[in-house]
Symmetry: C2
DNA sequence: CGCAACGTTGAAAATCGTCAATCGACGTGG
DNA sequence: CCACGTCGATTGACGATTTTCAACGTTGCG
């Protein structure tokens, strides 16, 4: 009886994993730790060479500016790898804060490298995930740079949907979403007040309703069209491995 | 008599390269090609598995939106690697356009992998460069999300300075910069008109002057302070290899 | 109960974009 | 050589978007 971790589900979408590979992933989940909401798991500028796999709960990676404002770079949902600079070992310049109580598996960088040497297919799958994360940061940049506030919010909800579906935590009708409007604001480069107004507009236009920690798509097709959401950047089906 | 390529200079800043490693880099520069300004080198959505090393001239990588607007993700200067998805082989979702006539070295992905297998230190150095590129995209996101227009422009010039100095193309007093104000606008998420206003303000405040394809720092310290420029994200001195 | 955090709304102000016009530099065809 | 068109830079006026400030409601929790 195996309980499949979100990471295993996610990587399984990229490559059909063997029993042995699943076991290796399971072993990663041994050093289990929990962190409480709001208390930083990693501070900006802190030097760390081990990573965490988010098993339960949500977190954000962010950067603080000298004037006190905050820009959230990434929302982390179950199955995501946190705190690993994709390839080389170097100082993390991002802070990571849980937005709910979270459960993570701590992964020592050296262990990971060893596992990868023995399971190159696993290494490829993890690189695929990292490459996908990268594409998301780029799309995030595009969104902030060239979409108006309301479309930005709409696009954000659609991207999250795609990510959550991949780990079985969402459907095309909606998902659980423990983010506050302040967090949305810091992620989207807006003020919390304006995020509120955008949410109202999207609700009144019958597109999405975000209320009480849940996102409900009232008109999914309409929302996709409104936000000009093109999931191509997420669909790195790549060289499917069997 | 060896003419050192910008890429070799850049990687040399990370790891002291052996003669053999320099030779491998030289071999990369054999398949030399040129592209003219304005004609895309890579179209958005085009599938390619080989990369280019920019040897001379400038380019931009960008993403086009359905409404016709453009967001530039990255400015590419000599020594930069273009069109390589850092790790896995997948469809490029970014277009690349030369902003001047450029000279590049085409690198076949397979050749590169072979070289890396034989020269792990080179592989590490290239990964370092990729990681640095990544950090730049993140900082770019932060800039667009949380800095006002004028600071954004100022920060942009300072980042470019650091990048150009690394390949010997700039000093703390200024550098050659063939970008138009329209390109700056597409990179910074602004309109060209507003970029013009920001440039005037920076000039009148005695901080930087951008005119006639050249950036001149009138008050470098003042500009750093104004833009809240912290080059930490560029200083991945990492595990220096000897 | 009272506090704290989040959500909601309105009004005013700042920032930034759009439109329109002008100017100079440059290259091309006549 | 000159006329012309194009591209980029520049500026002003106006308008749209977004922020800020302020106030109030709601909810959950010690």
């Amino acid at each position: 009886m195996r309980s499949i971790s979100p990471l295993a589900i996610k990587l399984g979408a990229f490559a059909a994993l063997s029993c042995n590979e699943l076991n290796v992933l399971d072993r990663l989940h041994q050093r289990r730790r929990t962190f409480v909401s709001g208390k930083d798991l990693l501070h900006q500028g802190q030097s760390r060479s081990n990573a965490y796999v988010l098993a339960k709960g949500w977190a954000v990676s962010y950067k603080l500016l000298a004037d006190g404002s905050r820009q959230i770079v990434n929302i982390k949902v179950p199955g995501d790898i946190m705190g690993m600079r994709s390839n080389s070992l170097r100082v993390s310049d991002l802070g990571i804060e849980p937005v709910t109580d979270i459960e993570v598996s701590e992964v020592l960088a050296l262990d990971l490298l060893e596992d990868f040497r023995e399971n190159p297919r696993l290494a490829t799958a993890v690189q695929w995930a990292a490459s996908r994360d990268n594409a998301m940061v780029v799309e995030h940049l595009v969104s902030i740079g060239r979409r108006d506030a309301t479309r930005r919010v709409a696009h954000f909800f659609l991207e999250l949907e795609a990510r959550l579906r991949l780990v079985g935590l969402g459907t095309s009708s909606g998902y659980f979403c423990p983010l506050t409007q302040y967090i949305l604001a810091d992620a989207l480069g807006l003020s919390a007040v304006h995020v509120n107004r955008c949410l109202r507009k999207l609700r009144q236009d019958g597109l999405v309703t975000f209320r009480g920690e849940s996102v409900v798509f009232d008109d999914h097709d309409g929302l996709v069209e409104f936000a000009q959401f093109d999931p191509a950047y997420l669909d790195h089906t790549g060289p499917l491995l069997h």
